[in-house]
Structure formats: structure tokens, C-alpha cells
């Protein structure tokens, strides 16, 4: 009986705390995306012509580690049994990707664009060796920030 009560308590705490953290993070992401919308990020190797002159360039990176709450972890485990889209991982990875890009953009303030953009994801923490589930995810975004001579 104690196990059931502990499980339900963790579920409720995970659901409400996770929902609050997620909505707060998304608000912050949207706000910062609007501010940094002017800075293009492309996967192309170059966006300039022969006439453009590059003043400076540098490697820029942004990385973030995000974890699932208990409720989403249990939901993912249940979907693993029945099959289908694991919706709890969708928001995790979406937030991770967008936050990593924002941090990379922040690293390149004063530059004109970021080229050769790449992104990598990896599991970390206790779930790193467990192929059946993910708990914490690290997303790393990197590219080359370029400033042109105007």
C-alpha cells in the first residue's frame, strides 16, 4: 500500500512541477527567440559572395542538459509497452534543441550570421547505458559565426 501512495505522490509532483517548469522554459525560449530572430543560422558552408569580405569568424557553441520529470518518465515507459509516439520525449528534445540554438546565438552576439550549423544529442546520467529509456539529454549546437566588413 505504501508503494502505491509513494508512486501516486511522485506522479502528481512530477506532473505539476514538470508542467510548471516546462511552461516557464517555453515562455523564456519564445522571448529570447524573438530577440535573436535577426541572427540567421544556416547549415550551408557559406552564404557570402566573392565581393563580401569577412572581418572575423569564430566557432560558437551552445549546449544544454534537460531532464524529464517523473510523470513523463512513467508515460514514456507505458508508451514503450503499447507503442506509438512518445510525446513526453518530444517536448524534452524540442526544448533542448531550441535552448541550445539560443545559447549558441548568445555566444555569437556581434556577428552577422552562423554558418555550417550542426547539432548533436546524447543521453547522460543513469539512463545513458539503458537503451530502453532516456532521462537526461544533452543537446549541443555548434557552428561558425561570421562577421562581414560593412
Amino acid at each position: 500500500m505504501a508503494n502505491i501512495i509513494i508512486f501516486i505522490s511522485l506522479l502528481l509532483i512530477g506532473y505539476f512541477a514538470g508542467k510548471y517548469a516546462e511552461s516557464k522554459h517555453y515562455s523564456s525560449i519564445k522571448e529570447r527567440e524573438l530577440k535573436l530572430l535577426y541572427l540567421p543560422v544556416v547549415t550551408l558552408k557559406k552564404t557570402w559572395t566573392e565581393e563580401d569580405q569577412i572581418k572575423k569568424s569564430k566557432l560558437v557553441t551552445g549546449s544544454v542538459v534537460i531532464s524529464l520529470d517523473y510523470f513523463k518518465r512513467i508515460l514514456a515507459a507505458l508508451i514503450n509497452i503499447t507503442g506509438g509516439r512518445i510525446i513526453s520525449y518530444e517536448t524534452l528534445l524540442d526544448r533542448g534543441r531550441r535552448e541550445a540554438i539560443l545559447r549558441m546565438k548568445k555566444d555569437s552576439l556581434g556577428y552577422d550570421c552562423i554558418v555550417n550549423f550542426r547539432m548533436e544529442t546524447s543521453s547522460i546520467g543513469q539512463s545513458a547505458n539503458n537503451k530502453k529509456s532516456i532521462g537526461s539529454v544533452e543537446v549541443m549546437a555548434y557552428g561558425t559565426a561570421v562577421k562581414f566588413v560593412k
Binding site: M1, N3, I4, F7, Y15, E33, L34, L37, Y38, P40, T47, F71, K72, R73, I74, L75, A77, L78, I79, I81, T82, R85, I87, S88, E90, T91, L93, D94, C113, K132, S133
Partner: protein, 249 residues
């Protein structure tokens, strides 16, 4: 190439499903499937156990039970003879007496009855007859075989659920459900015991005095008994009164 900054209006990477609704939908589906499996296996076991000969059970459990050393072998033989008298030599039962402060007796597969010496020291011979008749009742109803068959099947089922997915919760819920089934088995074993005791003594005084002793000794509330494998002693005394009414009619 001109760069035009465009705000993301709709996030195409996130499903529109509400996580809570998905969670409840899956939980309900899994619970319904588990209930269906539980009921189906319960029915199969209840029907199938009748076709397993008792001699098979005795042979399978012989090697395990022979390792249990009885502390009073002569007393155990005497109790076996008491059972033969009670049951009219219907079937052979084997008794083991073990040393323990706990006042208890229980049945093991293969017609084996284990009695703790504390029980023997605290009840009369007539009350002992009731306890023995009650255990024989379990064997007659094949309760022990069903219980162990269910345990075996459900331990296999639980191996499909990992610790992360709530194996301990599955066991908790299963255990509480099985306890309720067990209480029904206990009532039925009591009914069988009433018949045997009445045949020998023409009354059920030994059963009543035995339950009154438990009532005085344990002092547990009806709530404590809800999750127990045995019904509350008061409920069992009520069943004695019910049986007496039936006899009078």
C-alpha cells in the same frame, strides 16, 4: 540572398495530444488487459487444478517436505491418526510439528500440515480437531494447489514488468486482491471443518471457543483484517451461528 526573419507560429515538432489524456488512456487499457488475463488465468487454474491428481502433488513435494524435521515425531503421528479418524481415512495427510512462539498452523502442497508447538500448547484437543479439519478443508477444496499455481503464473507475468514500470506496485495490488480470494477460501474451509466437527462431537463448541481465543488474543480491528488472508474472528463466529441455524432447520 536576403534573410527574412520569421517567427515560428506553430511548433510542428510537438504532438497536440494532451499528455494526461494519453496517460489515462494507456493506464486504463493496460488495467483492462491485466484484469482480463488475471480472471482468465484464475478460471483456467480453478478448472485445471481438479485434473491434477493429488498423488502427483505428493510426489512433487515429497523431497522438499522431507527436509522439514518435525520436533515431536510421535506427537505428529498421533495427530495424523486424529485426522484419519476425523476424515474416516478418506485420504492420507502428513503432519510436521515445528518449534515457534507463533500460534499458527498451515497447509503445504502434497497433503502436508505444519503445526507450531505454541499452538499445540495453547489449545484443547477438541480445538485442535477443528484446526485440523479446517486445514483438511483447504485440501478438499484444492485451495493450496490453486494458490501455488496462481503464484507461479503471476510470478511469470510480473517478469514482463520491469522495476521502473512498477513491479512492486503490481505485486501490492495483486497481493491485496489475492488476500480477498484467500478470505473466501478460509470461510469455505471453515464450513467443511464444521461438518467434520459436528459429525464427531454433535456440536461446534470447539470451533467457537477457538475463535474466541483468537479474538481475545489478537485484538485487531476489522480494518486490519480487511487486508489479511483470514477473515475477522467475529465474522467466522457468525458463520458458526449460521451453520447452527441451518442444522436446526
Amino acid at each position: 540572398m536576403k534573410y527574412i526573419a520569421k517567427e515560428i507560429e506553430e511548433n510542428v515538432n510537438i504532438s497536440k495530444n494532451n499528455a494526461l489524456m494519453v496517460f489515462f488512456r494507456i493506464i486504463i487499457t493496460i488495467i483492462l488487459i491485466l484484469i482480463t488475463i488475471y480472471i482468465s488465468f484464475g478460471i483456467i487454474i480453478n478448472i485445471g487444478v481438479k485434473y491434477i491428481p493429488v498423488t502427483w502433488e505428493i510426489n512433487i513435494t515429497k523431497s522438499f517436505v522431507n527436509k522439514i524435521d518435525s520436533i515431536f515425531p510421535e506427537k505428529a503421528l498421533e495427530i495424523e491418526k486424529r485426522i484419519d479418524t476425523l476424515t474416516n481415512n478418506n485420504r492420507k495427510y502428513f503432519v510436521k510439528i515445528l518449534k515457534s512462539d507463533e500460534i499458527n498452523a498451515f497447509a503445504l502442497p502434497g497433503n502436508n500440515i505444519v503445526i507450531y508447538d505454541a499452538l499445540l500448547n495453547n489449545i484443547t484437543d477438541e480445538e485442535l480437531d477443528f484446526v485440523l479439519a479446517h486445514e483438511v478443508g483447504h485440501f478438499q477444496n484444492r485451495d493450496i494447489s490453486k494458490k501455488y499455481a496462481r503464484l507461479f503464473i503471476f510470478s511469470i507475468l510480473s517478469s514482463f514488468i520491469s522495476k521502473d514500470q512498477g513491479q512492486s506496485i503490481f505485486f501490492d495490488i495483486l497481493n491485496n486482491t489475492e488476500m480477498k480470494f484467500s478470505q473466501t477460501d478460509e470461510i469455505n474451509a471453515d464450513k467443511y471443518a464444521f461438518e467434520l466437527i459436528y459429525k464427531k462431537y454433535k456440536n461446534l463448541d470447539s470451533a467457537e471457543s477457538f475463535f474466541n481465543k483468537i479474538l481475545k488474543d489478537k485484538k485487531l480491528s476489522k480494518f486490519d483484517y480487511y487486508f489479511s488472508s483470514h477473515p475477522h474472528p467475529e465474522k467466522r463466529i457468525d458463520k458458526i451461528k449460521e451453520y447452527k441455524r441451518l442444522l436446526n432447520n
